[in-house]
Amino acid sequence: MTTDAARCFTWNMSSQFDIIVIGGGHAGAEAARVCARGGARVAMITMMRDAIGRMSCNPAIGGLAKGNLVKEIDALGGLMGEAADRAGIQFKVLNRSKGPAVQGPRAQCDKEIYSRAVQDILAAESNITFVESAVQALLFGSSALTGLRLTDGTELRARATIVTTGTFLRALMHSGEVKTAGGRFGEPSAETLSDSLRAAGLELGRLKTGTPPRIERTSVDFSLLTEARGDAEPRAFSILTDRIALPQVLCHVTYTGAFAHELIRANLHRAPMYSGQIRATGPRYCPSIEDKVVRFADKDRHQIFVEPEGLDHPWLYMNGISTSLPADVQDALVHSLPGFAHARIGRYGYAVEYDFVNPQQLDATLQVRGVAGLFLAGQINGTSGYEEAAAQGLMAGINALQYVRGGDPVVLRRDEAYAGVMIDDLVTLGTEEPYRMFTSRAEHRLLLGCDSVYERLTPIAESLGIVDDERRRRAESRVTRMHRAKTLALETSLTPDRATQEWMGAAGFELTAKTSVAKLVQRAEFHVEHFLAVAAPAFPALTSALTALSAEELEGVTSALRYSGYIERQQREASRSAGDEQTRLSAEMSYALPGLSREVVEKLSSVRPSSLGQASRIPGMTPAAIAILRMHLRRKSAETPAEHAPV
């Protein structure tokens, strides 16, 4: 990455704005923030200004794989981690026992405080103009987007536009037999924008997602529920957070039972997904309770997490029974749950159906292929989840910024960030159901742990000029501290002399030869805490390096040492495929090449991969076809060396 952060904008005076962001959800918020940080004049257009940063569904940020995305966003200068730290009321690191590579930090959040935190962070950016209105249409020039028109007829011009309209495009909410137009409860849908996207040559599809009922907190008998606690020591997402300020609360667990399942089966014909009222595809990993009961008929109970929507919020979120059954069935279902016999539903669960754009039509910067200046991010690209939306918003924002100031595209590699895996998956494979991040989607997972995000990503953000000084300073010193401890552990060795054997014997193991501390850490019975307690005076340098680390940093260092064998193996694998990843395929390339079957040509022409590596991941691509493509590239680069220079 060679971008000069100080590069001047070539201001285009006919534009009111450099970049317009349509939407103030999680994608829109990150996009607007990063563009403003990069020095662009930004407009954010949303239908309801109060709803900026609103959590449409569950009151939590992070989780497995999603937590990694939040950390990556933080390392790249994004806002989600900060907002979640300010709003968090129960923090928990999932997979705690399994090592940083697959640990996922998660926080229950106070919904109101969360959206206010997002709004505060955005308000602090003087470059952002907020416009409360709905966008009716996009305006196109000959080959690029030039601006847009609001519903009141006002036209705004900008050199780049990022569309982050979430679940709002021609959105239809279903609750039993009742259908209401709207992107989210109490908010209108966007009915005309889809036509503009079609006019830009995009193909749209339809997806659905659902949300569970909310229960009035005072109507629940908590004595019948099991408590679910967070971590005793809450661990913040953001490197900027010194302390979690809000009081920490409990969640609860309850279960569905035979009665509930019988009830659902008896009323299936009234469920929109089963009556045929909804045709769109929902996520397999987030099934409605009606799906669970039908598909896993032999399971006699399903777990429900009962989560507060906020510190003082009157509602509880029923995590596990997303549903679009009619109100009377939802009432009976809730009343059958232990502790909920007299519960009152504050808002019924519903499903929402909306238009999305198959992301194979985008390039790796999230720009629409063939329409310069038009970027899409968030749920509109077929994903689901706040974190997935936010990470795309950030990357689309960065690339819109680069587009406007004439810098290089910024594409994170699959061995560099979960965000890189996600975007590569989206633009290469497309998606037929709402896409959610899982750690198993990342083939280089061991390189993508939360412990190494600042090392991997902050330097990239820094070179782009989008990180604040405080974040940069903290990230640098953290990386230096961890690096120093790692190096000293490799360089410091213990010799099996009497004194050492004595305290090691007491710790339950023996030393037979001179061994580095790094090697000792690989033995399960070796504990750094114990080492520090007994051997500190003999190894002052290492001791000071280790004690300078926070608990989180120490975990990072020990696990990097402990699993270095596996980590190195993944690094080798990643570098083996690096050649193909760096072999660029131009966007204009013709794939009508001798030896390639028509099927393969069609696939390549429709995805237009940016590298040979990406091409090899297109489903249905054969090793032979890749070999032929590689041969052709070699021949072509031999003929015209200039044309093959890396982009």
Binding site: L64, R284, F296, F305, T439, S440, A592, P594, S597, P623
Partner: protein, 439 residues
């Protein structure tokens, strides 16, 4: 649509058989046949016809025209079954080239079949083997692979891998669901079974290699033992010089015949003795070198002289090789054990039967088992084996799931080059279809 040209080549080894097949593949193939034979026969029907060039007859042959995509390559394809004379084949190819075809690169027909999705890679390699299969067992072995036996075995190992990987992944990505997706004992059991299966496949390589490359048998013995005479008798022609003078043979003489269904190459060598001249010395060194890499050593002892201490020392030095001791010239003296006479032919049938048994028992692939026959397949199977053992080590060391799967994916990807790969989406699909996941 990619532009395809028309290629021509003999499909059978030239100069070996009574019948030779020439193939023409690509858009011009039908037209070429029509021009050569005067008319285009009905699709997929064998037609007896005369091939002419510029009015001058070349040969009478059977021609079949296959229309795309219902052909071996997936393109328009012509097969001509001609008389097996190199001259005829040459003239047909020249004629086809004049009509627009070019000579095919080695393996190009098969490559076209692969690119058109008519064959997978394993099947393609088997076809290549089939085309130059020289003996009956080899042909049968190739057919086994064409029918996808190796692909099927790999697919079954892939199933086990997918089962274990997806459950270990689920334990990582859905640890909050309160499931025990798989027990360590179950994972270990399944992986051990897969490892045993892949090892059985790996074992077929040595046998498979013999099947493909054939077997070498070195004939050793003291000068005048009758080595060159045996070679000549086996091949049925005067290949090596035979004289009563000890030390006649200097350099190695090779000939291949079929034994036990496999090609066996016999190496006639210089007689072993202590005091030899410089040239003979070099010959003896070559004989010893050859015997070290041979599959079988035939050690000949002249029955008129009997085995002496020198023979015993030589035989002892061959420990670890498969040595067959044979007495010669049984027409001249009393003999025991395996004994032959080149003069009368006595004992030759027994010797061949003995070699035949050795080949079937030690080198040929059991007819029903899958086998790997080339280096690419061997490397893939070895990588899979190594991934599985490493994963089992990780399980034994009680490592976390994310470390175990590193090696399991390695194993799965290796198999993926032989059969379908395990994609990330396969893993998620397996999880969502087997477990009730999600809130």
């Amino acid at each position: 649509m990619s532009e395809l040209d028309t290629i021509v080549a003999p499909a059978t080894p030239v100069g070996r058989s009574a019948l030779a097949v020439v193939r023409i593949d690509g858009p011009l193939s039908g037209q070429i046949l029509a021009t050569l034979s005067g008319s285009l026969p009905e699709e997929r029907k064998a037609a007896f016809t005369r091939i002419r060039q510029g009015g001058e007859p070349i040969d009478e042959c059977v021609a079949i025209f296959y229309k795309a995509p219902r052909s071996f390559t997936g393109n328009d394809l012509v097969e001509l079954m001609l008389h097996g004379s190199p001259v005829i084949i040459e003239r047909v190819i020249v004629a086809a080239r004049q009509l627009g075809a070019r000579i095919a690169e080695p393996g190009e027909f098969t490559e076209r079949a692969v690119l058109n999705g008519k064959l997978d890679l394993v099947q393609a390699e088997s076809i290549a083997d089939l085309v130059d299969a020289r003996t009956s067992l080899q042909a049968k072995l190739s057919l086994l692979n064409v029918e996808g036996r190796l692909s099927r075995t790999c697919a079954s190992i892939r199933e086990s891998l997918l089962h274990v990987i997806s459950r270990l992944e689920a334990a990582l990505d859905f640890s909050e669901e309160g499931y025990e997706f798989i027990t360590r004992a179950d994972a270990r059991m399944r992986l051990e079974a897969a490892l045993a299966e892949i090892r059985a496949v790996a074992d077929t390589y040595e046998r498979g290699r013999a099947t493909r490359a054939g077997i070498t048998a070195v004939i050793l013995g003291q000068p005048n033992a009758g080595k060159s005479t045996l070679l000549n008798t086996l091949v049925g022609s005067e290949r090596a010089i035979v004289t009563p003078i000890p030390g006649t043979t200097r350099d190695i003489v090779r000939e291949t015949i079929e034994i036990g269904g496999l090609p066996m190459t016999f190496l006639d060598t210089a007689g072993l003795r202590e005091h030899a001249d410089l040239v003979e010395e070099i010959g003896i060194r070559r004989a010893r070198d050859a015997s070290r890499s041979a599959d079988i050593v035939l050690y000949l002892i002249d029955a008129t002289r009997g085995a002496d201490a020198y023979d015993e020392a030589e035989i002892a030095a061959l420990a670890g090789r498969h040595v067959v001791v044979v007495q010669t010239k049984r027409d001249l003296a009393a003999s025991s054990g395996l004994a032959i006479s080149a003069a009368t032919g006595e004992g030759m049938r027994e010797l061949i039967a003995h070699l035949d048994a050795i080949v079937r028992e030690r080198f040929a692939v059991p007819e029903a088992s899958p086998s790997i026959v080339n280096e690419r397949q061997r490397a893939a199977v070895a990588e899979c084996e190594s991934g599985l053992s490493a994963a089992l080590d990780s399980i034994a060391g009680n490592a976390d799931e994310q470390f175990i799967v590193v090696d399991l994916y390695r194993a799965a990807n290796a198999l993926g080059t032989l059969t379908g790969a395990v994609s990330r989406d396969d893993v998620l699909r397996e999880i969502f279809s087997k477990f009730c996941i999600g809130k």
